[in-house]
Every structure is written in C-alpha cells, then in structure tokens.
Amino acid sequence: MRQIAIYGKGGIGKSTISSNLSAALHEMGHTVMQVGCDPKRDSTRILAEGKFIPAVLEEHREQLRIGKDEYAINLKNIVFKSPGGIYLVEAGGPEPGIGCAGRGVLTALQILKDLKAFSTYNIDVAIYDVLGDVVCGGFSMPIREGFAEEIYLICSGGFMSIYAANNIARAVQRLAKRGDAGLAGIICNSNGDEAFEHAFIPAFAKRLGTPFVQFVPRSPVIQACELGGRPVVEYAPDSQEAEIFRNLAKAIIENDSRVIPTPINDLAELETMYRQCLVKDKK
C-alpha cells in the first residue's frame, strides 16, 4: 500500500489537491482512502458532496463515555464511501480548547490500523491530508510513526507558504532518519502569480533536494468544483484542470523518489533567495 501525506501551510489548498488527487487515482483504477488529519475535519468535503462526515475521534469519545474502548468502534461508523467510490475518513480532534489534537491525529490513525481498515477495504493508496503547518510535535507523529511514507509539500508563491514548507521540510529531515519516510516532492498550488511561481518553486524544490512534481493553476473550474462538492475529474472530466490532476496522479504513482531534504536553516537565506527571484521576475 502506498501511504502519501500531503503537508502545507493552512489555507494553501491541501484538501483541494488531496481530494482531486484521490479522485484521479481512483479513476486510474486504484482503491483510494483519503484520511483528513485536521481537527476541522473538512478535508473530505469535496468528495462527500460538500458534507461533513463523522470523525474517528468523535466516535472514540462516544465509546469512552460509555466505558468502552477503540475496539468497540464499528468501521462502518468511521469509514465512508464517497459517491465516486473513494473511501473517506476524518480523524477529527478533541473538543475545542482541551486535549491534544496532534496526539489525537495519531490515535485516529492507530485506530484505523488496529481495526484493520486498510486491509478490510483493500486500500492500495492512502492519502493523508495533514493539518496546515507543523504546529507542534504531535502533527509530525504520522511521519514519526510510519503512517506517512511519501511526503508532498504544497506551496504557492506566497512567502509564508514557502516558509511553512521549509519548516515542514525541517521536520521531515529530523524524522526521516528514523524510518522510511522521505520527502517525495513539491506541488505548487498557484496563488495567481504564475511567472514568479514557475521561476521560484522549482528552484526551491532543487534547494530542498526534491523533485518539483506539478504546477496546479488558479482556476475558476477548480473553485466551481469545490463549491459543488465534487472533484474536478468527476465534475469537469474533459477540462484542462482534470488533465492536470490526472498528470499529478500519474507523476505521483511513478515517482519513487524519497529524500531526506536539505532545508534552509537560516531564515535570512530563504528571504534573500525569495527576494532575488522576485526582483528578477519584476525585471
């Protein structure tokens, strides 16, 4: 089973990329499970016709309340099939203001493993859509515990998204030494400044020592699909955007690169690199 984790800054479009990637992989014939690893539990909405599905940790909390444990959870209550045939899971999180969401994500993943969710549904590609940034050690647990083996970073031309991607690369660098996890590539989800992004993001990927996998343009078609609660390959199968996601799925399936990244440790260096590219772009 391929275990692919999508990391990136909050709001950068991880859920959009993950969901459309899941749909494209499913179209290629893979049995895909998308696991949202964000307490907001909104990762799978696009695949679930805009609906929120119940989360693993909600169900877990219910079982604890009645004095039972995770083994009392029925897989049917936490794994849902999208109308398109993709398996959907949301890890969820503790109630706001209490508990540890990072540890919660790991607990949810462990519950899926303990209940043999992947083999029960014959999953061959699991996509983990992991909360925005590496906000605390808890959110790097899917890497640490070996759930996420191939890590893709999503970023745009915005400096903060690059900064977050670099930070996540630092976490991957730290954790990759422990096991099989490695950085597999960078995906650009454009914020509209395409010329700059084409110039900077491949160079940034090179600096991290990882492939630049795909450029996803800012597009009204993708936005319309999001609003409609359906992935692009289903909603607009003949569009150019659908082709982009098919290419992304193909590139990911064919990509066997896993590297220990070489992130930029000095923020000033990252800023200089960014500024230099910005100046060239304006010229």
Binding site: L57, P94, E95, I98, C100, R103, G104
Partner: protein, 452 residues
C-alpha cells in the same frame, strides 16, 4: 583568602552535550503533594498518570502520613485523556468519593493534563456544590519547576483559598512556614524542636504550613502576629504574602537556621528580642551549650582529629548554609566547596554573608546537579564531604576519605526522627561525623586511605 568566591549558577558550567545533569530535586508536583499532605483530615487526588503518583507516595512518607487517616487517589491518566482531555475522568473520580468524611480534597494536576489544557479549577468549582468537603485545586505540573517551586505553588493556593481574614490577632503568636522544605530526612524532629522552644518561650503557634495541620488552623493563620520561616529553600513567597496581606511580620529573617552553636544562639536571641523574652532565650542557650559540652566531655568524639581538614558541603540551602558555620566552628574543618541545590537570590545573599563573616573563600556552586558536584569534588579534592549517599558514589575514585551522610536523597530506614536544629541537633550531627570516622577505620581499604 582575599579572592572572591567562584560562583556558578545552574546550567552555567557545562553544556548539555558534555554530561548528564541529574538533578537532586524532584519536580513541582512532588513539592505540592508534600505540602498538601501536611494538612490533616484531608485527602489528595493526583490528576496524573500513575508514574507521577509515585511522587505522592514519596511525599506521603516524607510527611509521615498515616494510611489509616489519609487517603490518596489518582485519576491514572492514559493516552485517551491526553487526546480528549481528562476533565471527565477527574469529575467522575471526585463524584465517586463525594461522601468521604474529610475536610478537604486537594486536587493536584501533573504535566500531562496541564499540557492538554485540563481546567482543574473549573472542574472543582463546578463540583463544589455536590461534595461535602472543600475542593482545593492546585495547578502543580512538574514542569513548573523543582519541588521547592511546587511547595511555593501549593502554599500560595492554600493561603489564598483557605485563610479567613476576619480574625483577631493573637499577641505573641507565630505561624511556622515550610518546615518540610528541609533535606534532613527526618525533618519533623527539627519542627518539633522549634515548637518545643516556642512553647518554653510562651509563643503560641497558630498554624504550621504544613505538617499535621488541621484546616481550622490554616483558616486562622491571619490571627498570627509573626511568621517564622523554617527553610531557606522554599516558603519565602508565603511569608511575604502573609506579611503583605495580613500584616504578619516575619521574624528571624535573613539569618541562618539554628544548626550549630552560633547559629542556634543567634536565632534564639533574635526570637527572644522580638518577643521581649531575651532572658528565656539566654537560658535555653546556656542550658543547651552546657548540655552539648557535658555530653562531649563524657563521650569524647574522636572525630575532633579532623582539625583543619578540607571539607565540602553538598546540600539544600536549609541545611547547607548553617552547616558552613558548624563545619568551621564546631568541627574546625575548612570548607573548600559549598554546593547548594538551590540558586535563588536570597540563598546567595545569605551564604555570601556567612562566608564573609567567617572569612572563608570556598568554591561555591548554586543550583548544583550531580555532574557539577562530581566535577567540583574532582577540582577541590576535599577529604570530608557533608552530603548524601549520592556524594558517596560521586566521590568514588577521588581522595575523599569520609562522606558524612547528613542529607539522604536515597531512602534509609529510620524509625526515630533526629533533629539538626538546636542543641540535640548538634549532637546528632557530631554523631554522624563520628560514625563515619569510625566506619573509615572498619574498612581496611578506607582505613588506609584515611590514614595516608
């Protein structure tokens, strides 16, 4: 002489990569438990994993609680409570014991629940109407500091939550603060000596913060005219609070605790001065000194042959600072290393004042850990160490002939409490030195080392 003492603050002398820095002190959770368990007719609920609860057991032993009277409970948190928070299990546990015949339940939080945001204060407030006793939440996660910080945290909560301010002052009265922040393993004997002296002087003890203290005494603390801090390591904050909030004057402030002849005499005189009973103080001093000298004449301890021997003192500030004078004056040794577990400013000031007045210039390490102690012993190479079992191991391979175990971090079984404060305290300390000296002669190897 003439040079400034070498000062090292916690963490200043070694980088973390250089060595393991084992602390001497336990965490704040332990200090809070130690304080809460000093209140009688109450129970303690550790909102913690069961590993932390071990520290409650340790505090239980240190406060000499009786398991027939004092109950300890634990929520035994596991990963589920880290993920979802442990407020539910805390509430459930409190409800389960709601009919306990006690006056207060102290709820202490450890690191885990505080990291994930459990609001023990909120839970206790919500459940207070349902239970028959006072709920006293103490936010005492171990990461808040050492056991001394935990003692301060717990005393602060207890004072703010329980003390009534509408009480009449009792003339000639005192509140004893932090007797348990004392590395003498049988510290209740020190407290007992203080109480006995106060009784003889006609000073009324309103409350002890804390040791076998009924809640009613805590509630009544504001009636004390003075406070008497029995530790140099913790409790100053409580004494300051009592002074600022209830006008309770701190006596014997800034002088070493009564260990050794001069310290005891100075401390008793300060008390006598404040309460206008100098004559009684002088009588106690005279009797005590006579008793010590008569005993020494009869028993004649041979350890007096350690005259001018280079010595090291490794202890908490409570025992360690007064020991400097004891070692110098009574034992006539030369302190060449003073390593204290604590490092706050009042400890600095007190120790430096003592060193100056004794004309000593030893190496001084504040906030020591085991590694720094070992390095300092290697550097100073004393012949005698006043410390604990830890220093016995830390000085292996060094030419340390005697380790006088006056503060024992490791447990050693003792049925009878022995004070270091006061005049019998002097004899107890002399006994420790004498026995160590004798033990040296019992071992062939150590005898050789001791001799040559």
């Amino acid at each position: 002489m003439g040079q400034e003492p070498i000062k090292e603050m916690a963490g200043s002398s070694t980088s973390s990569s250089e060595a393991c820095t084992d602390p001497y002190l336990r965490c704040a959770f332990n200090g809070a438990a130690l304080t809460a368990l000093g209140i009688s007719h109450s129970a303690l609920l550790a909102h913690s994993p069961q590993g932390c609860e071990y520290l409650v057991n340790n505090a239980f032993a240190s406060q000499e609680c009786d398991y027939m009277e004092t109950m300890t409970l634990c929520t035994k948190l596991c990963v589920d409570e880290i993920v979802h928070g442990g407020e539910d299990i805390l509430a459930r546990t409190i409800r389960e014991v709601k009919d306990l015949p006690i006056s207060a339940l102290f709820v202490l939080s450890a690191c885990g629940p505080e990291i994930v945001g459990d609001d023990i204060v909120g839970v206790c407030e919500a459940l207070q109407p349902e239970v028959k006793f006072r709920l006293v939440p103490i936010e005492s996660a171990g990461f808040r500091g050492s056991q001394y910080d935990g003692i301060d945290i717990a005393m602060d909560t207890i004072l703010k939550k329980l003390v009534k301010d509408d009480v009449e002052k009792i003339p000639g009265s005192v509140c004893l603060v932090a007797p348990h922040a004392n590395a003498n393993p049988t510290w209740p004997a020190d407290l007992a000596w203080v109480k006995q002296v106060l009784f003889r002087m006609g000073i009324k003890v309103v409350a002890t913060l804390t040791h076998r203290t009924p809640i009613a005494e805590i509630e009544n603390i504001a009636s004390a005219e003075t406070s008497l801090l029995l530790s140099h390591d913790a409790g100053q904050k409580a004494a300051d609070y009592l002074s600022a909030t209830f006008g309770i004057e701190q006596v014997c402030k800034g002088i070493p605790l009564p260990i050794g002849m001069t310290n005891t005499q100075r401390w008793l005189t300060a008390l006598g001065d404040r309460f206008d009973i100098l004559k009684t103080a002088e009588e106690i001093v005279a009797e005590g000194e006579r008793m010590v000298m008569a005993t020494c004449r009869r028993k004649w301890p041979m350890a007096r042959f350690m005259y001018r021997t280079p010595a090291a003192i490794v202890a908490d500030a409570t025992v360690g600072i007064p020991l400097v004078r004891f070692v110098t004056e009574e034992m006539e040794m030369t302190p060449e290393l003073v390593a204290l577990y604590t490092s706050h400013r009042s400890v600095w000031e007190l120790l430096e004042g003592e060193l100056k007045s004794l004309g000593l210039n030893p190496k001084v390490v504040y906030g020591t850990d085991v590694y720094k102690t070992r390095k300092s012993l290697q550097e100073v190479r004393p012949r005698v160490v006043f410390g604990s079992t830890i220093e016995r191991h830390a000085s292996e391979g060094l030419p340390v002939a005697y380790v006088v175990e006056v503060v024992r971090m490791m447990r050693q079984f003792r049925m009878i409490n022995r004070e270091y404060f006061g005049y019998t305290g002097i004899l107890n300390l002399l006994e420790c030195v004498q026995n160590e000296w004798v033990m040296g002669w019992r071992s062939k190897e150590r005898r050789y080392e001791a001799k040559w």
